[in-house]
């Protein structure tokens, strides 16, 4: 009898603790894919920081790249009665049933970084993603402005063949330079988004283009390939950033280091802060009941050598890239 009493007492104490813990205004469950890349790890840590800023209680479940774990986590969040659920879906399909359960429990769902394929778009409140075509265009616009009408031959390092960021970043860049007749893409090959492949392909470009004398700028679909290519340019006896302009996308810490040393010129940020805009949309929705637009595009910010790359490098270093 006294044992039962003790259990009861303990659970009431636990309950009152739980009550105290949920003193913050909102509790949000975030089903994250995993930590397969530096960017993903940075997204997780930025989400935590953004939640703290708004005194939101953020619960993160790492799915280890498995959809079944994500579904379990979403169900768990529903059972817990959180105020909203964020999902970075690992695959595009197979979410209808579990999202319908969340909807029935009147818990809004916001997709981060990727979208899903569903017959019923009402299953989620909004999706926060970047526009990869726009990223390419920002890079192209920068080059148009920088060359200011002087003739410029560009070599392009593409991402993994057939991947959607590679296709879109190529398309966006071409849109960006379409108006400038002085800029021409002379060579374009895949560097598979990796540093090693970026270096190797750039070496080939340099040999084919008269030791690099015919190249005025390099456009890489991600920073890692650009970092590899910078190495190749240095080994060929040229100065990256001066003899050959370097522009790429992603804004990982290493490219800021290269920029602070004058070896890279510009990068377009794929922001790891997807949760921030999602929190804002959620708060507005909870306060006014007004649904946000179905798609919230994150900012594709351009960083150049003028933006104090050293400082940005220090800021980004600790995020887990």
């Amino acid at each position: 009898m006294s044992f039962m009493k003790r259990i009861l007492l303990a659970s009431t104490v636990a309950m009152s603790f739980a009550g105290a813990a949920s003193a913050s205004d909102l509790t949000v469950g975030f089903s994250q894919i995993g930590s397969e890349s530096g960017w993903r790890a940075a997204e997780t840590s930025v989400s935590k920081i953004e939640a703290k800023k708004r005194s939101i209680d953020l619960k993160i479940a790492d799915a280890q790249q498995k959809q079944e774990n994500q579904i379990k986590a979403i169900r768990g969040f529903v059972a817990q009665g959180v105020d909203a659920i964020f999902v970075a879906p690992v695959v595009a399909t197979g979410w209808d049933t579990v999202l319908a359960e969340a909807k029935e429990a009147e818990i809004p769902v916001i997709l981060l970084d990727r979208t899903i394929e569903t017959a019923n778009n009402d299953l989620y409140l909004t999706a926060v993603t970047s526009d990869t075509v726009h990223e390419g265009k920002v890079a192209g616009d920068w080059l148009v402005k920088t060359t200011a009408g002087k003739p410029c031959n560009v070599v392009e390092l593409q991402g993994t063949v057939g991947s959607s960021p590679a296709i879109n970043r190529k398309k966006g860049f071409e849109e960006g330079i379409a108006s400038a007749s002085n800029i021409k893409i002379t060579r374009s090959q895949t560097g598979d988004f990796t540093r090693a492949k970026g270096k190797e392909v750039m070496e080939g470009f340099l040999k084919a283009e008269n030791g690099g004398k015919n190249i005025c700028a390099l456009y890489a679909h991600n920073d890692d390939m650009a970092v590899g290519a910078i190495q190749a340019i240095k080994e060929a006896g040229l100065k990256p950033g001066k003899d050959i302009l370097v522009v790429s996308i992603d804004a990982v810490p290493d490219i800021f280091k290269a920029m602070s040393e004058g070896e890279a010129n510009a990068t377009v940020e794929l922001t790891p802060n997807m949760a921030g805009p999602a929190f804002d949309a959620l708060k507005a929705y909870k306060d006014s009941g007004k649904a946000p637009p179905k798609w919230i595009q994150t900012e594709s910010k351009l960083y150049t050598q003028a933006d104090d790359p050293k400082k940005v490098y220090e800021e980004k270093k600790g995020l887990g890239y």
Partner: protein, 325 residues
């Protein structure tokens, strides 16, 4: 007290303690929602684990489980989406294929006398490879019949859902318990797992039983694959990687001896639920790394294997003492 039942009681106790501890910290875990989720979310794991229990009871192992689940999912998606086959017909085809596949593995294990570990490892690679031959994409399944099955649930008071697949798992466990303890086939399995040579000498049809065991495991893996495809409404080649190891863990935590001959199907159910409770706790907490599931399951496995060794050691010593006195 029967020492054979000791691991099972230990599992039950751990499960009860774990759940109580969770409820104390998160009172919301004591809800029909969580209970319903435990059944629904672990349905495919539980169904496959029943097959694995029989295999391990017979002293074997089946590593092909996860791949067969993925294969079934992809096959269903391709048949239903690309060829317009009705889901029920597709289910039947998938079950025939996976059962035959299991039977063939059992045949090789018995007649060619190859260790089950090797044969089912080959089976695992073969099935995973077949998935990629069919498709490398994740194919969504949109069919009214699927929506109907997914929409079939009994609403418990408190918002919990007793879903079709959750009930199916419970049913499979009940049938499994009946088979293990109240059928001739069940007693054959225990006999083979206890001592194959003496089982043969007693006139037990070892060949037929071995093939039937792996065929049953293939069938249940196929059924788990159907449940998995209902769960995600998609077929994906990389789905259910490593599920065979989760099922083995559930079986061992459930008190079944890895060397065969001793164990209970009901224990496996508790083993599955324990894994589900750990995962639910981690989601409720929200700050722990989800890899803690694996760490805790690993620690439990160690504890149970140690417990089993001690029990085996004690019982042999007692037998020796009895023999000498």
């Amino acid at each position: 007290m029967n020492t054979r039942l000791l691991p099972f009681y230990a599992t039950l106790l751990i499960c009860a303690l774990a759940y109580t501890a969770c409820v104390m910290q998160f009172p919301a875990m004591l809800s029909t929602r969580v209970a319903g989720n435990l059944l629904t979310d672990n349905a495919f794991l539980g169904i496959a684990a029943v097959g694995m229990t029989f295999v391990i009871l017979s002293g074997g192992i089946d590593l092909s489980v996860g791949s067969v689940i993925a294969f079934t999912g992809v096959l269903l998606a391709v048949l239903i989406t690309k060829y317009g086959v009705h889901p029920l017909a597709a289910f039947a085809m998938a079950l025939v294929i996976t059962t035959t596949f299991g039977a063939i593995m059992g045949f090789i294990i018995y007649y060619l006398d190859v260790p089950a570990f090797i044969v089912t490892l080959a089976g695992m690679f073969l099935m995973r490879g077949m998935c990629f031959v069919m498709t490398t994409d994740s194919i969504p399944i949109n069919h009214e019949f699927y929506s109907m099955l997914q929409g079939m649930y009994y609403r418990l008071p408190g918002g919990g859902r007793l879903t079709f697949i959750g009930c199916l798992m419970v049913l499979v466990f009940l049938v499994g318990i009946m088979m293990a303890h109240f059928s001739k086939f069940g007693s054959y399995i225990y006999a083979i797992g206890g001592n194959r040579t003496s089982a043969e000498l007693m006139g037990i049809p070892v060949a037929r039983t071995t093939i039937a065991i792996y065929a049953l495991s293939g069938f249940l893996s196929g059924l788990a694959g159907i449940v998995f495809s209902l769960y995600t409404s998609a077929g994906y080649s990389l789905a259910a990687v490593g599920v065979e190891l989760d099922t083995i863990a559930a079986v061992v935590i459930g008190g079944t001896l890895l060397t065969g001959g001793v164990g209970y199907v009901a224990g496996t159910f508790v083993g599955v639920i324990i894994q589900g409770i750990i995962q639910t706790y981690i989601v409720f907490d929200g700050s722990l790394s989800s890899w803690w599931t694996k760490i805790v399951v690993g620690a439990l496995l160690f504890a149970f294997i140690a417990l089993q060794r001690i029990l085996v050691f004690l019982s042999t010593r007692r037998a020796m003492v009895n023999a000498t006195s």
